[in-house]
């Protein structure tokens, strides 16, 4: 077995230094402009109160949930083929969520106050209260599950129970996150009881993109550096699964777009016709960031290639980030009750400070990830998976 994690070597140190510098620079920039100008450094306003930092948080939180859901394939549903990525999945889910929360913290008006006012006032009517509860539970379960795996406990009764608990926490957290938007009947573009399903699908798509990208990066973009079971997964089940999830995502977008465009309600159809489809960025992200990856994953000759998979992961990163952005802003572009003061669709472009938060979240993710790859063994898997993988490979070699 010729396993090599290049992040453990000098390349990892270089990446660590680079991402730490970007992290410090973007954090420094954000903090300086926030402390000198307050939230006037944002382009979000009282008419479009939720801007790119919220979209970034949403993207990160859902990518984390997606990774959590992927991890439950082997842990809850017995898809043993996914064991080779499960530990990396859980670690990534944890650090992506932390990075997203860091971005959210800088978006809020009074972040530290949250620590006491939310527990002391227990406003159970608010979906945002539940978001705090469920994502906290999710974080605890992710840590617990990771700790079990780190101790080599893959199949014990408690590790199974923790796995199930974690799966439920992820479903609740991301489903409830969807309802923060989906329950807003005064914002008809969002109002949709099936939004949790759409969030689950897109969460898994963005989780897969992160998983594929970071797994390849850890192994220097070469399958030769990977273990046999991991290679089997990347050549077999994973790209097919990725394709299916992207297909589901496209279907969901299509159904939402068709009902939206068909509707007479200007607060829905104008968002589609005058904002989303009128934007070249949205068009590009839809066709190049979701449809093209789907097509690539459908082609059996292409989908198993390392280069295609990395390309698809990167395209999906961009495609789904834009999807989140346009979703969040799209719910707000029709002005509510403003008369001729706002007599056109509202426009919003993120400011440099808002971008710096997105960069900060991503740099934080990279920094934590490199540290994780260097200090922990994220490629660990149950011994029988290793044995079976090697045996399969030996059989395949003998066959050819």
């Amino acid at each position: 077995m010729n396993q090599e994690n290049i992040i453990k070597g000098p390349a990892g140190l270089g990446l660590l230094a680079l991402s730490a510098i970007v992290l410090l620079a973007s954090f420094g920039y954000a903090i300086t402009s926030l402390s000198s100008q307050g939230h006037a450094a944002f382009n979000a306003t009282s008419t479009v109160p939720w801007g790119q930092p919220i979209a970034t948080y949403l993207y990160f939180a859902l990518a984390s949930s997606g990774l959590g859901l992927i991890a439950s394939l082997p842990l809850v549903f017995g898809f043993r083929k996914f064991y080779p990525v499960v530990k990396r999945c859980i670690f990534l889910a944890f650090i992506i969520l932390i990075s997203g929360m860091a971005v959210l913290a800088l978006e809020l008006g009074n972040v530290f106050r949250m620590l006491w006012v939310i527990p002391l006032n227990l406003q159970i009517q608010s979906a945002m209260f539940w978001m705090g509860v469920f994502y906290l539970v999710d974080l605890v379960f992710l840590l617990w599950k990771f700790q079990k795996m780190d101790a080599g406990e893959w199949d014990s009764k408690t590790s199974k129970q923790v796995g199930i608990g974690s799966f439920l926490a992820v479903l609740l957290a991301s489903g409830n996150l969807a309802l923060i938007f989906g329950m807003m009947s005064m914002r008809p573009f969002w109002f949709d009881g099936l939004l949790p399903i759409y969030f689950y699908l897109t969460a898994v798509a963005s989780g897969l993109a992160a998983l594929v990208f970071f797994t390849y990066l850890a192994h220097g973009f070469s399958r030769d550096n990977m273990s046999a079971p991991l290679r089997n997964l990347l050549e077999g089940a994973l790209p097919k699964f990725f394709g299916a999830v992207l297909g589901g995502t496209l279907l969901f977008i299509a159904v939402r777009a068709i009902t939206g465009m068909y509707s007479n309600n200007p607060e829905i159809h104008l968002v589609w016709s005058e904002y989303l489809f009128a934007s070249p960025v949205y068009q590009a992200s839809l066709w190049l960031g979701i449809l093209l990856p789907f097509v690539l994953m459908l082609m059996s000759s292409l989908r198993t290639l390392a280069g295609t998979q990395v390309l698809v992961a990167i395209l999906v990163f961009g495609g789904l980030f834009a999807e989140r952005f346009f979703f969040v802003v799209g719910g707000q572009v029709i002005p509510l009750f403003k008369g001729t003061w706002e007599w056109d669709i509202l426009s919003y472009t993120p400011s440099a400070t808002e971008w710096s938060l997105t960069v900060m979240g991503s740099a934080m993710l990279f920094t934590l990830w490199v540290l994780g790859e260097r200090l922990l063994n994220l490629s660990a898997m149950p011994p029988e998976t290793v044995m079976r993988g090697n045996a399969d490979e030996a059989a395949a070699t003998a066959h050819s």
Binding site: H39, T45, P49, F337, K338, G339, W341
Partner: protein, 250 residues
């Protein structure tokens, strides 16, 4: 306890914005932070084009969606204060979910790009934790009810001038500026309205003039389909909100 309500007669309103100005003076709000505003709408095309307008305070909804979504109970409906919806500035974390959830767009996060330059916050920098401190400000302050000048990072909104209304003798059916002993208790927008298009009174009192006006003159609540059930009623022709239409593309 009273249930405070407002009635706005659109047949009398001239759209002069005196109420908006009075509110800004009374509550020391920043430009653009219009707790009270007059909205102008145009509807239809020549030869039947119409211009309409309606004054718009916070509706102090009976079923306020802003309260339902607030994760901290910073936004709350105080039944002991006539059913007014307040923001507790000591609790608000500035998540802005309430601004998303209010169908009437009447909540403000003044910690944003200034509407007008120069920025008043730079000219009169804030002291005592306030976002800004003008040379004169209303001495009335109650941060638990969002009265005064807010600190940074919280949401502000119309309070139905609770600092005035709360001092009215208990059981008063209507706060009418024409009754000399009551005029100090009348909300600033109502008191200043020259054509007397605004009325303020107790919706729970069968004797109140606001109830009579709503009953006799077919008072309506705007955007009633949202189910928020405003405590603000509109009378007269034109009490409706045209559907949103984007600017015609040339």
């Amino acid at each position: 306890m009273a249930k405070w309500g407002m009635v706005i007669d659109l047949d009398k309103c001239t759209g002069c914005q005196a109420c908006t100005t009075a509110c800004a003076m009374e509550n020391n709000t920043l430009p653009g932070e219009s707790w009270q505003d007059v909205l102008f709408y145009h509807q239809g095309k020549y030869p039947s084009a119409q211009m309409k307008w309606l004054p718009r305070p916070c509706m102090q909804c009976e079923n306020p969606s802003c309260v339902h979504v607030c994760p901290t109970r910073a936004t709350y409906k105080d039944m002991d204060a006539g059913g007014i919806v307040f923001v507790d500035w000591n609790k608000c974390i500035g998540c802005k979910y309430c601004m998303i959830a209010c169908p009437y767009g009447v909540r403000f996060y003044a910690d944003e790009k200034p509407l007008l330059e120069p920025d008043l916050r730079d000219i009169f920098p804030g002291s005592n934790g306030q976002l800004w401190s003008p040379p004169y400000q209303n001495p009335e302050q109650d941060w638990k009810r969002g009265i005064g000048i807010q600190p940074a990072g919280v949401v502000s909104k119309c309070t139905f001038c609770y600092h005035k209304v709360s001092k009215a003798p208990a059981g008063t059916p209507d706060l009418d500026e024409d009754i000399p002993e009551l005029k100090e208790y009348v909300p600033a927008c109502v008191r200043t309205c020259a054509p007397k298009a605004r009325f303020f009174g107790d919706l729970d009192n069968p004797e109140s003039q606001v109830n009579r006006l709503i009953g006799d003159k077919h008072g309506v609540r705007l955007k009633d389909h949202t189910g928020n059930k405003p405590q603000v009623y509109y009378l007269g022709a034109g009490a409706g909100v045209p559907a949103f239409e984007p600017k015609p593309r040339s």
